[in-house]
């Protein structure tokens, strides 16, 4: 049985279909983002089409504030929210193992905090075992770290890979061309679909006024994360290929990538959180606020504990910060397939799929 059938008649899909049929007869918002040109290529919307459009939507909200049919008008348009509901439901539906994601939407914060605490205690316990090594390895042997982190990294990649395959089948994706990938990366790299079509930005923290704040905050997080990830990857390569072991000083690649990355990440997350507080919650997905908050908190703990760890290196605080940092990183990766983090993967897939139709 295809996932489409499981979900047939789901209220979120029905509502998005109803609204898109109105938009398709209007088209005033065509210039804001990629959703509208993709929409006008169709007359009727199958469930897979809706899922694709929903993942293409970046929730810039331009089409809400520009719409002459929002409530109290009887057509009751709220396309950003309708597509957000479809989008979040699609992530839950495609997540593997099936059924795990909704649990996190409801109890994400509690689960994440418990997992971080659990891992941190575990690391602390392992560290207490007699062992040898220098720097951080004095606390936790390198072998133990690899034994824990390798599967923790492989599992989410496999899980997300399965989810994306399900998505790709539902949205009728074809074999990827190099230009699909580069085009999508180019759009994501600049957050093109949050630029309002002409660089004025989106409508988020200040009602119908446009601003690029959310776009910039998002890129701080994205690039901060990528720098941190690069830092870890470089360190791994240095360890294995060059036999150069941690700890690393400031003027080394891992630190020169990781410290700015951590700072960008912390700044981006705090800024984004402050924007979210000001934004109108009715224009996002229903019941998802909790699910997003835990992700931001985990991200913040990862970045802040990493920075503190570096700042406090050599002091007794490492015994506390290291388990906390490692525990949060592990949590971040393990829970990635069920967190807001998956949006990036689905977005990229949607952008690639869109390239295929644009020819």
């Amino acid at each position: 049985m295809s996932l489409d059938q499981v979900n047939a008649g789901a209220p979120a899909l029905e509502e998005a279909r109803r609204q898109l049929e109105i938009c398709n007869a209007c088209r005033y918002c065509e210039g804001y983002c990629a959703v509208f040109p993709a929409m006008t290529r169709q007359k009727a919307f199958a469930d897979g089409d809706l899922t694709q459009l929903a993942n293409l939507c970046h929730n810039c909200r331009g089409c809400y504030y520009a719409c002459q049919y929002t409530e109290p008008h009887e057509f009751a348009l709220n396309l950003p929210a309708a597509l957000a509901d479809v989008r979040v439901e699609s992530w839950e539906r495609y997540a593997w193992p099936t059924g795990l994601a909704p649990m996190f939407q409801r109890n994400g914060l509690a689960i994440a905090m418990a997992v971080i605490a659990g891992f941190a205690l575990l690391f602390a316990a392992v560290a207490a075992l007699p062992g040898g090594g220098e720097g951080f390895y004095a606390y936790l042997s390198h072998g133990a770290m690899v034994a824990i982190f390798l599967p923790a990294f492989v599992f989410p990649m496999v899980a997300i890979g399965i989810a994306l395959r399900r998505y790709w089948a539902d949205v009728g994706g074809k074999a990827l061309r190099a230009s699909d990938v580069t085009g999508a990366l180019h759009d994501a790299g600049r957050m093109k679909n949050l630029d309002g079509g002409q660089g004025q930005g989106c409508n988020f923290e200040d009602g119908d006024r446009f601003s690029n704040a959310r776009r910039i905050a998002h890129q701080l997080i994205l690039y901060g994360f990528l720098l941190c990830f690069a830092s870890t990857s470089v360190a791994t390569l240095m360890h294995y290929l060059m036999g150069w072991e941690a700890p690393y000083g400031f003027w080394t690649p891992p630190k020169m990538l990781g410290v700015p990355g951590g700072i960008l990440l912390v700044a981006g997350v705090l800024w984004m959180a402050s924007l979210k507080v000001k934004a109108d919650h009715d224009l996002g997905a229903k019941n998802v606020a909790g699910g997003e908050i835990w992700f931001y908190i985990v991200l913040l703990v990862v970045a802040a504990s990493g920075l503190l760890l570096y700042a406090l290196g050599g002091t007794g605080a490492v015994a506390v910060m290291l388990p906390l940092h490692l525990g949060s990183v592990l949590t971040f990766f393990l829970l990635m397939p069920y967190s807001k983090m998956v949006h990036g993967f689905f977005r990229l897939a949607a952008l690639m799929r869109d390239r295929q139709d644009k020819g």
Partner: protein
């Protein structure tokens, strides 16, 4: 709100659509103290302007999103063709030639343009489309006006304009149930036409008007227009006429806007309540015939028409917001639509028999005409023979009324003893001088922008 009454305003702007906002912004930029009184609640602010999608703009070469060139004479010729000469040439040429400056002015005040929407390529040379449509334009202007310090009151229904001896003194306005007098040294009237007052429409047009749908805001009830005419202001435009197009019969009474438009007529057989055809559905390409179908349907019993197509034509026009009624046979379709079954079957059978072989061309006049049928269908006549069959009901949808205030080339209103000293008007409320009949797509916003700006500047200069 009562603090509005305590101020002696330089300029009182009545209305909150495109024309009112352009006037308020121009005046505020000179430093004038401006209050804008919008009768609608904040959500519905912007009148009919919030439903628009583009404005028609003269340009000597490529300009912003506009391609090629669109000169004064060609623009004027297009206008004369639709108004059949019922236009004030001086004002019309003023609107046309000033439109070119308006585009950059609009961009400088927050409006963004986008290339012609998909399905409207024929307008890419003449009409500049607003990114996000008219509501986005209205939002941008409200933000600009707020930043310039314009005081804005919503749900502020102006009931009476106090004019003594040719001089404006104050408006009497109801704000949230409270009646206030707001004084000012000048006034710009930009409160639109009267089409949303169905009683007035019925008195002017006849009782049939009660079955008309109003495509735009319910707040344009002509209160200010009537108040001025009662005080002897000079009028222009045919008081009995309104611009009406055929829209989907299931549209809401008010505010259905653009999405209720139906473009299927040229590919269909249109019958009335009694199952009879009444006009050549294929007379010309749809954009040129769009406007006459409002009147044609208005003249039918119960002011309703029924457009019937078959599966061959389903994908030839823009999708409509309401799905069509669908049936496996013409008889079944007639029954589902509440039409007399035998009569419709006979009408369609006669139509089908009158169709001739030939090449069908949906996008051009293909000359595929019926033979020996009255009335004939002169283009795109193909038999309805491929199920499923689809039907849409059609009703007249009123866009605006023609009756308005007479203004001069400075947008100043004429009263019983010549021009008022300090009363200006802009937009739909004075458009009858230029659009005496018919309509030219995108010209309503041009008139509002051009005369709104003139009125705002003139009023500000008067009080300076």
């Amino acid at each position: 709100m009562s603090d509005l009454a305590g101020v002696d305003w330089d300029l009182v702007v009545v209305g909150g659509g495109n024309a009112a906002l352009c006037a308020a912004i121009e005046a505020a930029e000179t430093g004038a103290r401006v209050v804008l009184l919008e009768g609608a609640p904040e959500f519905y602010r912007g009148g009919n302007s919030r439903h628009t999608r583009n404005f028609r703009c003269m340009h000597r070469g490529p300009l912003s999103v506009l391609t090629d060139a669109y000169g004064e004479d060609e623009y004027y010729d297009d206008l004369i063709r639709v108004t059949k000469g019922q236009t004030d040439e001086g004002l019309a040429r003023l609107a046309i030639t000033t439109s070119e400056d308006c585009l950059p002015w609009m961009e400088n005040h927050g409006v963004r343009f986008q290339p012609s929407l998909s399905g409207t390529l024929s307008l890419s040379r003449t009409n500049a489309f607003f990114l996000g449509g008219g509501k986005a334009l209205v939002n941008a202007y409200y933000n600009t006006a707020e930043d310039l310090g314009v005081a804005i009151a919503y749900e502020a229904q102006v009931k009476h304009v106090v004019v003594t001896g040719g001089r404006f003194e104050a408006v009497e306005v109801e704000i949230g149930g409270e009646r206030l007098t707001i004084r000012g040294r000048a006034v710009v009237l930009a409160s639109g036409g009267f089409q949303s007052d169905l009683d007035w429409l019925a008195r002017a047009w006849g009782p049939a008007a009660r079955n008309f749908l109003i495509r735009g805001t319910p707040y344009n009830r002509g209160v200010v227009l009537k108040d001025m005419l009662d005080q002897g202001a000079e009028s222009v435009g045919d008081p009995t006429q309104c611009h009406a197009v055929a829209i989907d019969g299931r549209a809401p009474q008010y505010d259905g806007g653009i999405v209720t438009r139906l473009d299927c007529v040229p590919f269909s057989v249109v019958v009335n309540r009694d199952g009879e055809r009444f006009y050549d559905e294929g007379e010309d390409v749809w954009p040129k015939r769009y406007a006459i179908w409002g009147r044609l349907v208005a003249a039918q019993p119960d002011q309703v028409g029924y457009s019937l197509i078959d599966a061959k034509s389903r994908d030839l026009f823009m999708p409509s917001v309401f799905p069509p009624i669908e049936a496996g046979s013409i008889g079944e379709l007639a029954e589902k639509m509440g039409l007399p079954r035998e009569k419709v079957e006979a009408t369609v059978a006669a139509f089908n028999a009158a169709c001739r072989p030939g090449t069908f061309h949906p996008t051009e006049l293909d000359g595929l005409a019926t033979e020996g049928l009255e009335p004939a269908k002169t283009n795109w006549a193909r038999p309805l023979d491929t199920p499923p069959y689809y039907g849409y009901s059609l009703r007249p949808g009123v866009t605006f009324t023609y009756l308005g205030l007479k203004v001069d080339d400075t947008a100043r209103v004429t009263g019983p003893e010549g021009r008022y000293e300090n009363v200006w008007a802009a937009g739909e409320i004075m458009a009858g001088s230029i659009l005496g009949q018919g309509y030219l797509a995108g010209f309503g916003m041009t008139i509002g922008t051009v005369f709104g700006r003139i009125a705002g500047r003139e009023a500000a200069a008067h009080v300076a």
